[in-house]
Structures are given as C-alpha cells and as structure tokens.
Symmetry: D2
C-alpha cells in the first residue's frame, strides 16, 4: 500500500485543517510503509490527580495516530471518522513523554482497522493498547 502523505505533509495538513488539534500537543515522528508513530510531550493538562497520564489523553493519542495512519494512505481526507476505539490499559504510565505506534491491519474502501501501542519513552513494556476503526467517506478524491 502506497504512502501518499509523509510526516511533514501530515503536519501541514493538520495545521491547515485542524489547527485546534495542535493544542493537544502531539508530534508526528514517522509515517511510512510500516505505519505511523506519534509522540506526546506531557504537560499538566494531560495528567490526572496523582500525577499519572489520564485515560482520555491515551485514548486521544491512539485515535490521532490512527487518523494519521489512514490519511497517510488515502490522502488529505478530513472526513474520515472514528467508529470504534477499544483500549486496554496495561500499566500505570509515568508522567513522561509517550510514544504511540499505529499499524494499519486493513484499509478497505469503507472501513479501516488499526492496531496501536503506547509506551512511555524508553520503557520496554506498553502502557496501553488500542484497536481503532474508522469509516471512510464513499467518494474520495
């Protein structure tokens, strides 16, 4: 499957179409034939009481990685929407930069399925895993 948008192209697309999404703070590390990698430097807004990273922060990062993985293959299609997100919380994350990798398991005409894994930077064991599905609009350029 050909990669239509690499990391810089994806960054530009997001800046243009979803500038508000930038407030979340993610950085696109990589978008290639193996999938997408996105990192999140953690700030106070991502934490919950006790100093651990909040569940919604982890879920948002997995969803973002999957959206970018779909875009990297179908091109600038703003209208792809999440249809399901199934996250397993595996370990209590430290308040450090987190890294999410996403590989596409399927990219059909109408449905995409991806598998994401989130690690605290430099740690071997994942803190969360999510399977994410997206619906892709019928007519796309």
């Amino acid at each position: 499957m050909k990669v239509l948008m690499d990391a810089p192209s994806l960054e530009q697309f997001i800046d243009r179409v979803f500038p508000a999404a930038r407030e979340f703070g993610f950085v696109i590390d990589r978008a290639d034939a193996d999938g997408v990698q996105v990192s999140l430097p953690i700030n106070a807004g991502h934490l919950r009481p006790g100093g651990t990273i909040s569940g919604p922060t982890l879920m948002t990062l997995a969803d973002t990685a999957m959206y970018l993985a779909v875009l990297s293959r179908v091109g600038p299609e703003a209208l792809a929407v999440t249809t399901s997100l199934n996250m397993n919380f595996l370990r209590r994350p430290q308040a450090s930069r987190i890294v999410c990798t996403c590989r596409l398991l399927k990219l059909g005409k109408r449905l995409a399925v991806g598998d994401t894994l989130i690690h605290c930077e430099g740690q071997p064991d994942p803190v969360a895993q999510a399977t994410v599905t997206y619906s892709i609009p019928p007519a796309r350029a």
Copy 2:
C-alpha cells in the same frame, strides 16, 4: 446487590477525593439499584472543530459513569481503575447536554464490567455505547 452510596454521597466523595475531576463538569443524576445516570452540560472545552462533541469527552463520561456505578456498590474505594474501555461511536452528537446511563453487568471481587449508553438529551437514538471494565483492589474496607 445493595447500593452503598447514593447520588449525594457520590457527589461528596468526588468533591473530597477528586476535586479536579469536577472541572470536567458532570452531574450525577441518579445512583440506585438500576445503575447510575450522569449528565454533562456541554461547554466549549468539550467540543472539537465543527461544533460536535469530542470523542474523548464521550469516553471520559462513560468511564466516569462506570467508576461511579462501581463506587455505588463497593463504597468509597478511590483505587478502582479502568482496565478497558470499548466505545462504539454511533451518531454525530449535537452540541447539547448529554446523558450517560450505566448498568453493571458484573461486580466480582476483582473485576467489574459495565455497559454504558450516551444520548443527547431528549433524543431517542444513542450517540455512543461503551463497555467498560474496572479492576477492584484486593483489600477493600
């Protein structure tokens, strides 16, 4: 299964132990033998570009409802933690108050499973459904 904490007791517990959780803005409508109902008056922080309610807002509400449903049965146990959250996004929600109901399907000694449904207030069709599992700490008072 006996209800150990009703809506006012849950509100007090959250105010005391997780005051920061209040910033999310939820209101506990009901906590009884049938389960828990939580509402969220929507503000700008819950929206994403385009004026629809963000996925993380829906996921946070489902997770909150499940946490409260567990507490209502096991008593003030701050340490129960989410182990999985599987959400299906069913319809694009309007930017209106949303209502989440949660019924417990299982409350074991170690694992609780609940089913949540989110509606826009006054609308018949749900905008999201989630199954949420919690791990309950071994020793509880």
Copy 3:
C-alpha cells in the same frame, strides 16, 4: 425503524439460504421493534470439558442474534458480514438452555451495531455480553 421480517419469516429464510446453520440448533423466539431474541437448547456439542458451555457457542449465538436483528430490518440480505465481535464473559454458564437478546444500537447504510446479552434460562444475571458490528453490502434490494 420498521420490522421487515418477523420470526417465522427469518426461520424460513435461514432454512432456505443457510440450512447448515440449523445444525447449531438455535430457535428464533422473537423479532420485533424491540429487537431479536434467540434461544439455544444445549447439547453435548456445545459443551467443553467440565460441563460448561463453550466460549465459541456463546459467541456464535451472539453473532447469530445480531445477524437476525439486521435481517429483520433490512430484509433478506444474505451478504451482511460480521466486522467485529467483542464479548465479555461474565459468569460460568450452567449447561442449560441459553437465551440471547439483541437490540440494534445503529443501523446505518453501511454499518450496523448491536448489543447482545446472554442469560441461562430463568437466571437473572447475564453470563455474557457482546457488542457486534456488521457491514451491510452497498446495493441492497
């Protein structure tokens, strides 16, 4: 949403198009505006060592109930296919007749989402819950 096929129509359709599915042994109790109910009288083929009902039996019943719930609304559409099945195993089922109810949460043009609950007949607590999604072929009569 209008019900296009009731329980007898669904039974006839299955007998004609999927006679082999009958070997599983299910019975359609009800197909109406509230959803579908399917029962399974248990035989040796449904059990696993220890005398409990096997996981695949529970998953097959949930999938069957969802397929019938979709058919009851879209009419005789043999080609609808399961895209995901997420089952939570809640309690060890006894080797008794089991009953599965399915309600449709969404029936879109391309995707259907349903929620199923399985009980041992006459028991109040569910033994399993599953969320099932189906893909519906683009052109349908």
Copy 4:
C-alpha cells in the same frame, strides 16, 4: 519474562488435561520469549456455507493461542479463564491452513492481556485480529 513451558511441554499438558480440545485440531508451532504461534489445518468442520472459515473457528484459535501464551509463562495452570475476546474480521479467509501468533502485552498477577493476529498460511495480510484477556486464579503453584 521467563518461558516456563515450551511447545512440547504445552502439547503434553493439553493432551493430559484437555484431550477433547485436541479435536479442534490445532498444532503448537512455537512458544518462546516472543510469544506463541499456533496453526490450524482446516477441515470441513471449520468451514461455513460458501467454503470460508467460520468466525467461531477464528475466535477459538485466537482464544487457544492466548491460553497457551499464558500457560507458557505461568506454568501448568488449567484454571485460567477468558474474560473478554474482541475480534476484528479483516478479510474473508480462504479454506487454507491458518496461523495465529499471540504476544502477551501484560501478564499481571490477576489479569493477562494478549494481542493475536491470524493469517492464511503464506499470505501477507491478516484475516483477523483479536485482543484477548484472561483472569488468572489468585493462588497458583
């Protein structure tokens, strides 16, 4: 994490404790630090009308691979039980031998989470993906 049982030890354990599970027909290819690989030579009992591999066959294989992955790390613990199985059906499988790989994402004292992927032998794209969780009995030797 140390591997306590390799493929031949697992085969012997299953033969002794769950001989009936052998009727399903799986073969354990590998059980090592990277996870477990299980294959299934397809026979008529695994097919559904149309000649494709049935959903329950795929789900049973994923569940079996996860059970073996847990056993390979905790030792001969017959009582570990599935608490959830979430399968995404990605492509229509041909009626050929299928291969399932399972990697453990978490092995806690009480809960194990694994990620499985099923391919038709020799094909690059997966036909199904499943996340499986197991509950591990409190006291284990």
